[in-house]
């Protein structure tokens, strides 16, 4: 149990250096730009792109034709004998197309330029594994989409055509404002859903399914152009959020009042899974898949709360826990992902559905993290700024309370930090002592000087002249003359 937990924990760490731009400009790179940041990518590939457009043009056109044919033939094959008329209709359609081709050609070639061309370029790109995987996925999605639409016959064909026309129009809008592109996409969703229901009489449940497939089809193709586009400051916002979350690494469960007890193995398992899910969101291309990651993450959070509290989680429990998970996970390109989902997800899913609820909570969590201050963590402003600047770390205090399976490296680090703190304290003590000694010495000197002065003042030194003294002495001696003469020794006859 413990083992698996540890490896999973290790699994979710992404090396910072892998996220940075390959050119080393300090911004974050993006796999869609082969590891460059938006600026470097533009510089690097602007020229190459121009060149390749010519080369790819013909190839793209051929692909487009093949796709169309494949669709037409698969329609015919699937429908079988019953749809002789249908395939005839198809034929007529294609005849019509050839007639119109001069006018329509412009549209189709334009779209094909933007789509398959990418795939070719990627095959030549420096990170082939990732891009090949992407282009394979694009192909697979197209095939699946065609397969899926077969079951809807005429409506399916029309939906396919609508989607194609939409993609093409989007291509023409490539240089325009992202909000305009978003608006256009949303209108497309709305109109298509309305058409499905009104003209083709598709039942509401099925409309939802078709809409999901349409979203899948168009967004796999549009992702590269509309995710974190160069024209917006999404990338800058990503960096800001990332830095902000990194600066908040010290926030604990207790500060956020998270009703989750990570000491329970099952709960910490759920927490790890939730973190993995929210990180995984960035790797998905379709808004709905991204939403699904958020939903999975939320479900794991609910499980963690349910195990801890033994009652269904309310929003009062859920939101703080989600905030905690976001802080722990620091999901890559969080703002870009939120913006992308907001702009290009099928709105009906986002407004009222369960996914929408969890997404809204994620938006709330990010808004909270951005505005977070000491008050919202029940800390004084002083404490908060000390933790933010890294002068103090609240975690050290509960070193003893840490669960046993905490990473030994982290433990060691905190022990070392403790030692360093103690060392710096001692150092300070010594410096203070030295200063005191210096002061004492100065004071002592002063004191002695003062004392000497005082004594000198009190007992001034009056030195009498030597002659006087001697004279006095002599004068004293004069008096001696009056004395009887010293006794003379007498000899006694003996």
């Amino acid at each position: 149990m413990k083992m698996s937990l540890k490896t999973e924990r290790r699994g979710i760490h992404v090396d910072q250096s892998e996220l940075l731009c390959k050119k080393g400009c300090g911004y974050y790179g993006n796999p869609a730009w082969q590891g460059f940041c938006s600026k470097c990518w533009r510089e690097e590939y602007q020229k190459a792109r121009q060149k390749q457009i010519q080369e790819d043009w013909e190839f793209a056109e051929r692909l487009q034709r093949e796709e169309e044919e494949a669709y037409a033939s698969s329609q015919g094959a699937q429908a079988g004998p019953q749809s002789l008329t249908f395939s005839k209709f198809e034929e007529k359609k294609s005849n019509e197309k050839t007639r119109k081709v001069t006018t329509v050609k412009k549209f189709f070639t334009a779209s094909s330029k933007s789509l398959p061309k990418k795939d070719i370029k990627e095959a030549k790109s420096p990170s082939p594994s990732l891009s090949r995987q992407f282009s394979l996925e694009t192909d697979r999605v197209s095939k699946d989409f065609i397969e899926f639409l077969k079951t809807y016959q005429k409506a399916g064909h029309d939906v396919y055509k609508l989607s194609k026309i939409f993609l093409e129009a989007m291509h023409h809008k490539r240089e325009s404002n992202i909000d305009e592109q978003s608006e256009f996409t949303q209108d497309f969703y709305q109109n298509t859903a309305d058409k499905l229901q009104m003209y083709w009489k598709v039942s509401p449940d099925k409309v939802e399914k078709v809409m999901d497939q349409i979203e899948r089809f168009i967004m796999t193709r549009l992702y590269k152009h509309v995710f974190c586009p160069e024209t917006t400051d999404d990338e800058k916002k990503d960096l800001t959020v990332q830095k902000r979350i990194r600066a908040l690494h010290w926030v604990t469960l207790q500060m956020l009042c998270v009703p989750v007890n990570e000491d329970i193995a099952e709960v910490s398992d759920m927490v790890v899974k939730a973190i993995t899910d929210i990180i995984e969101m960035d790797s998905k291309r379709i808004p709905r898949d991204k939403l699904a990651c958020i939903t999975r993450c939320s479900k794991h959070i609910f499980n963690a709360i349910k195990i801890t509290k033994n009652e269904p989680a309310s929003a009062d429990d859920f939101l703080p826990t989600l905030i905690y998970i976001v802080l722990k996970a620091n999901p890559p390109r969080l703002q870009s992902n939120i913006q992308y989902i907001t702009r290009f997800c099928n709105p009906s899913r986002l407004m009222t559905g369960e996914d929408g609820y969890y997404f809204t909570n994620l938006c709330c969590a990010v808004a909270f993290i951005e505005k977070l201050d000491g008050q919202s963590l029940n800390l004084s402003e002083e404490e908060f700024s000390r933790y933010m600047s890294g002068q103090a770390s609240p975690k050290k205090q509960d070193l003893e309370n840490w669960p046993e399976d905490t990473c030994t490296g982290v433990k060691q680090m905190h022990r070392n930090l403790d030692l360093l703190t103690q060392l710096s304290k001692r150092q300070e003590h010594i410096v203070n002592g030295a200063k005191k000694l210096e002061k004492d010495l100065i004071d002592w000197t002063d004191e002695v000087t003062k004392e000497v002065k005082d004594i000198v003042e009190k007992y001034p030194l009056n030195i009498k002249t030597a002659s006087q003294a001697l004279a006095a002495l002599e004068s004293e001696n004069v008096e001696d003359d009056n004395l009887p003469p010293p006794l003379q020794p007498q000899v006694y006859a003996g």
Binding site: A193, K201, P204, E311, A315, P320, T352, K371
Partner: protein, 221 residues
């Protein structure tokens, strides 16, 4: 085809999708209220749902199908500023207070002010005095609460999640009012969308909006 323009396809009666937010301080019983409504259980160990923060209920009111999505919101004061992100695009709001807690009623008043300011009269407001089983400890006068509700164009309800009182009526009434509002809306527009919830109003997330709200919320709180 003319009927189709009216919405929802001619033969099938249309389905309304409504979003309802639950607002109120922590501990006033928001969660118990929805759990009682959707699961008919109170503080029960056998509650099957994993969570009580997003619940749905399908209703049939006079032949009109209604899909109700109930969004619980975090009631802690520090999350107050996030309100606008939650209640954006909602058709109804249930503002819950605890009849034994004067403060919680004050919070409801703040919410009403904010909602009317942000969403105008499009949103149906319900003010709910919960825990009427604790009538003896009542600190919010019935008269004051009802008068206040009327003055702001909201309806007042007395409920007890514990004794299952007044809850069914609350939601049924709210749904009827939301259908009315939606119908008025549709007539005004001429061609109503198939689902009132799916019309695209304000899916954009504006960063500054909740921030601006936060200052107002904090000061009044």
């Amino acid at each position: 085809m003319a009927a189709a323009g009216g919405g929802g396809g001619a033969g099938v009666s249309k389905t309304y999708s409504f979003k309802v937010v639950l607002l109120g301080e922590g501990c006033v019983g928001k969660t118990s209220l929805v759990l009682r409504y959707c699961e008919n259980k109170f503080n029960d160990k056998h509650i099957t749902t994993l969570q009580a923060s997003f619940l749905t209920k399908k209703l049939n009111i006079g032949g009109k199908r209604v899909n109700l999505a109930i969004w619980d919101t975090a009631g802690q004061e520090r999350f107050h500023a996030l309100g606008p992100i939650y209640y954006r695009d909602s058709n109804g709001a249930i503002l819950v207070y605890d009849i034994t807690d004067e403060d919680s009623f004050q919070k409801v008043k703040n919410w009403v002010k904010e909602l009317r300011k942000m969403l105008g009269n499009e949103i149906c407001l319900c003010i709910v005095g919960n825990k009427v089983d604790l009538e003896k400890e009542r600190h919010v006068s019935i008269q004051e609460a009802e008068e206040y509700a009327e003055s702001v164009g909201a309806k007042h309800y007395h409920t007890s999640a514990k004794q299952n009182k007044g809850i069914e009526e609350l939601f049924l009434d709210l749904c009827k009012r939301m259908i009315e509002t939606a119908q008025v809306d549709e007539r005004a527009k001429g061609n109503g969308p198939t689902q009132s919830g799916t019309s695209r109003r304000g899916v954009q997330i504006v960063d500054d909006e909740p921030q601006a709200q936060s200052t107002g919320g904090c000061c009044s709180g």
